[in-house]
């Protein structure tokens, strides 16, 4: 993450319609390096839909997105992006280590090695365990470890604190603060109250 390039995600006048229901319209925001955007709102208010639009899985019905001033498809956006969604995206028949190895092959090597990342999320003793044998909270830690081993600027997290215990939540918050301190940016949805030290948190309420 070089300081010479200033990363910026801009969203302009975004609207989303799902099954003939208007979820949100006229949504505009910008996030730059070191910032966190927290999306809040009731169930079904379009938080996940917005994240999926940011990931490029859905096309916005109205509006446009840009990364460092360029349209997403013309920029390095997808190489700079990491997404952890409701689904963990890990195979339960593979071991923890094998799963991360595939994730590493799909992305660009980041600042942590696989073992360092596992140590960081307290899964170092589970490297050779099949993911099917892990608890829900451990699986969540594993999918978050994926963020550490690949080099990404923008983290998109959908309810990252689900099924984590109190230490787990504190750990993820620390990792998020560190990521922002290194010039990263995060968009997340959460029902949990966020306590990040020294990080600028924008809040958007979807209703």
């Amino acid at each position: 993450m070089s300081a010479s390039v200033s990363y910026l995600l801009q969203v302009n006048n975004l609207s989303c319609v799902r099954d003939d229901r208007l979820l949100f319209e006229g949504l505009s925001f910008a996030i730059s390096a070191g910032e966190v955007l927290l999306l809040e709102g009731k169930n079904g208010s379009g938080k996940t839909s917005l994240l999926r639009i940011l990931c490029g899985f859905r096309e916005p019905d109205v509006g446009d997105l840009s990364w460092c001033g360029d349209a997403l498809s013309d920029s390095s956006y997808f190489a700079d992006l990491a997404y952890v969604g409701h689904l963990e995206g890990v195979k339960k028949e593979l071991t923890v280590y094998e799963n991360l190895k595939v994730a590493l092959a799909l992305g660009q090597a980041g600042s942590y090695s696989i073992m360092e990342a596992l140590t960081r999320v307290n899964l170092e003793d589970f490297a050779d365990v099949l993911v099917g044998a892990l608890s829900a909270g451990q699986k969540r830690r594993l999918s978050l470890a994926r963020l550490l081993i690949t080099k990404n600027i923008l983290w998109i997290l959908d309810e990252p604190f689900t099924s984590l215990d109190r230490q787990g939540i504190a750990l993820i918050e620390t990792l998020m603060s560190e990521h922002c301190a290194k010039g990263g940016m995060i968009v997340l949805t959460s029902h949990h109250d966020l306590t990040l030290q020294g990080v600028d948190v924008q809040r958007i309420m979807l209703s």
Binding site: S76, G85, V102, L106
Partner: protein, 224 residues
Amino acid sequence: MSLANAFFAIIKRDLVLAMRRRSEIANPLLFFILVITLFPLGIGAQPHLLQSIAPGIIWVSALLAAMLSLDSLFRSDFDDGSLEQILLSAHPASLLVLAKVVAHWLVTGLPLLIVAPLLAIFLGMPTNSLGILLLTLLLGTPVLSLIGAIGVALTVGLRRGGMILSLLVLPLYVPVLIFASNAVEMAGAGLPIQAQLNILISFLFMAVFLAPWPTAAALKMSIN
């Protein structure tokens, strides 16, 4: 970040996964063997009839076995979110999809090639056409996997896509079936088969180069 690295990582991952849930390999293979062994029982003591329809039997069974195995191609990745991660990768999605199809063919198509000569002898096929049978299977079954991938990619998001999948894919399988079984039949009669083989080769090249794009596009639509 290397594309070849990602391509082979996907193949390796899918092969390891197939080894850990063996039913995926066993199911199509068992189906193939069962269908072919049932034919002599159904037809009765008419070895000449059996011999003359053997290429057709083997190819129709291979085609149905390939179709039966299709659903496993993207299903588990779709269900556990791995597919999102693969499509989100900065590598071209069509090539990663091609890697998945290659792994799938190695697991479900290659075993058919290995048992096919045995079953052909069992049906009394002339030995001079065994080599051609293998060659047509080698050229034809990858085409079945590649075309099938488009169909699965379109239907993976549907709860019960099985019926639609067969309707979508079967018509596209028919040309492969016609040329491949015809080649084996002609070879048995000692006639030249260069034309059929050339057509199968061109099918294969077309499928390798053209099928991954619509597959990747359809997967993107399905995870929406």
